[in-house]
């Protein structure tokens, strides 16, 4: 860790980079933002923005269940609940009883209500309000390692699944005809999003996590001509917004997460004006 710190100080000889917490936050952003850019591009392409949003909301229930069971590390109960949530949602969605957005709304609102009910009975929502906005500045070295592992796993899954996911996103019946196990892949992808959202929500927050996932990809979609460009731009936008957001939030003494979202929003607006028609 010491070596990485020294490298950062060497490359970025800025005054505030002397602080370990800024270096930690910077490292975390360098891992989280490409991760979000990559997964976000897949989410947007497969029209699953609301899916990831609902997952973010389900974090509250995961926390509540963790609090009831007395698990000191809420990440565990959150991940388990979110994985079940994602698989169940996919299952019901594939029953095609109602349109996808309706089903996702049902899940999203019920899980947030359930979380609130449980927390009102077992311990008050205020203790967990840090999860609503998140705090990237509190990230520690061991947590950065965990994020790095997450990034590697995501890259592996992406290498394996990206072609299938693209095919599914263009035409589900074509994908089936080609022998792609649509449901299995959707479930794997759903679980990936679930784990990613739950493990990063502590720093990003329930209210903002979806913005960070969706905005870079949406901006990239505005201007890219093919899948390769789209994925690269999405990662690039996410990375630049994260990096400059952290620094600007320092300069103007404002909250970091929201600053990143605002910059991503501006990127979306600019790319919208110059979009490919």
């Amino acid at each position: 860790m010491e070596l990485i710190y020294n490298i950062i100080e060497f490359i970025l000889p800025l005054e505030f980079m002397e602080y370990d917490f800024m270096k930690n936050a910077l490292l975390a952003i360098f891992i989280i933002s490409p991760l979000f850019g990559l997964v976000g591009s897949m989410i947007v392409n497969n029209k699953m923005s609301f899916f990831s949003d609902a997952l973010g909301h389900s974090a509250l229930t995961g926390i509540a269940i963790g609090a009831i069971l007395g698990i000191s590390n809420y990440s565990l109960s959150m991940v388990i609940f979110a994985v079940i949530f994602a698989i169940l949602l996919n299952y019901i969605k594939n029953k095609k009883t109602a349109s996808t957005d309706t089903i996702i709304s049902v899940f999203s609102s019920v899980s947030i209500a359930l979380g609130l009910v449980l927390l009102s009975k077992y311990g008050g929502i205020n203790k967990y309000s840090q999860y609503l906005v998140g705090d990237i500045l509190s990230v520690t070295a061991s947590e950065i390692l965990m994020l790095l592992i997450m990034l590697i796993i995501t890259l592996l899954i992406w290498c394996k699944l990206s072609n299938e996911l693209i095919t599914i996103s263009t035409d589900v019946s074509l994908a089936r005809a080609k022998g792609i196990k649509v449901q299995v892949i959707e479930n794997v992808f759903g679980v990936l999003i679930a784990v990613l959202v739950m493990l990063t929500i502590k720093w990003v927050g329930i209210l903002l996590i979806n913005a960070l996932l969706i905005l870079p990809a949406a901006a990239a979609r505005n201007i890219s001509g093919n899948m390769r460009e789209y994925t690269i731009y999405s990662i690039l936008f996410s990375l630049v917004a994260g990096f400059t957001g952290l620094i600007l939030s320092y300069i103007f003494a404002v909250a970091t997460g929201p600053t990143i979202v605002v910059i991503s929003g501006i990127m979306y607006a600019v790319t919208f004006v110059f979009r490919k028609k």
Partner: protein
């Protein structure tokens, strides 16, 4: 494929602009002893103790009017001022939950815990909580009791003397004088409240427990059993019943809090609402604790006469 260069170029320019701005920002450093306090009452306490000492700078970490720190999250600037400071004065007793991460990460920061040796009131737990690894088992608003506050002054003074021994004399003097004033305040409150006919009150939440305990006020019930948790319909009915049963004449709320539910209860029970300040916000002036307490006393006199 002109676009292939344009977008990365724009992004690169943007990053460079931000970096240039960043490199122009300079944080000021000085040779003073920087003492950071976690929140308002600690700030006022430390201001009194360090009064007249030239080379000490006291900064309050959580500016603004956050009355409780439960939902606080630090900005980058606050984080820097914290890491830069030589000592951090905290209330302790679980008040600064949001700092636990910071404190464990920066172990070289000198922490002055002012709650040392103060007897804590257990939180009324009517739910079965799992409190494992949590800090908020006790009521942390110890500073609202004058005796506790005096004890906190002593603890902070002790800490400051340890860190900055060359100014020890001044700290001890200041502390002695301030405590003298506080003792007077305490006597005044005691005498006034003793003479009041009805000592039953209903409070909004737990912040006045220590005060009530110290001066013999009887808190019949609280509207918010736990911080941030709204009373349910059945609880409101229960509270109204208790108010009538115990002949309570007033509901005491905290200034600056959303008191819609208190208003509902007050209307239903036919009692009045009075606002007290648990000394969690005010002017950046060292006499503020005593002033606010006197104002509170006036309100209590009016409410319980």
């Amino acid at each position: 494929m002109k676009k292939n260069i344009v977008i990365p170029a724009i992004l690169a320019i943007w990053v460079i602009i931000v970096l240039v701005i960043a490199s122009m920002v300079e944080t000021k450093r000085d040779e003073k002893l920087n003492i950071t306090t976690s929140f308002y009452p600690m700030y006022v306490a430390t201001l009194n103790i360090t009064d007249g000492v030239e080379d000490v700078e006291v900064t309050n970490l959580t500016k603004g009017t956050t009355s409780c720190l439960h939902e606080y999250s630090l900005t980058t600037e606050e984080m820097v001022s914290l890491v830069d400071s030589d000592a951090l004065v905290i209330n302790g007793a679980g008040m600064e939950g949001f700092l636990s991460n910071v404190i464990s990460n920066y172990s070289n920061l000198e922490i002055i815990d002012s709650s040392k040796g103060i007897e804590l009131i257990e939180m009324e737990c009517h739910h079965n909580h799992n409190h494992e690894g949590e800090e908020e088992e006790h009521n942390s608003h110890i500073f609202v009791s004058v005796s506790n506050y005096i004890r906190q002054i002593e603890n902070i003074t002790e800490g400051l003397v340890r860190i900055d021994s060359k100014n020890a004399e001044v700290y001890l003097n200041n502390s002695r004088e301030y405590i003298k004033e506080l003792e007077e305040l305490k006597k005044e409150i005691e005498n006034t409240i003793k003479s009041l006919p009805n000592k039953n009150i209903v409070t909004f939440h737990e912040s006045f427990d220590y005060f009530a305990h110290e001066f013999g006020l009887n808190v019949v019930t609280k509207i918010e059993k736990e911080h941030g948790e709204a009373a349910s319909a059945s609880e409101i009915v229960h509270i109204v019943k208790e108010i009538k049963e115990h002949n309570v004449k007033c509901i005491v709320v905290e200034a600056g809090y959303n008191v819609n539910i208190a208003a509902t209860v007050a209307k239903e029970a036919g009692v009045k609402i009075y606002e007290l300040n648990p000394v969690t916000s005010g002017k950046n002036n060292k006499d503020e604790y005593i002033k606010i307490m006197r104002e509170n006393l006036e309100v209590i006199k009016e409410a319980l006469k």
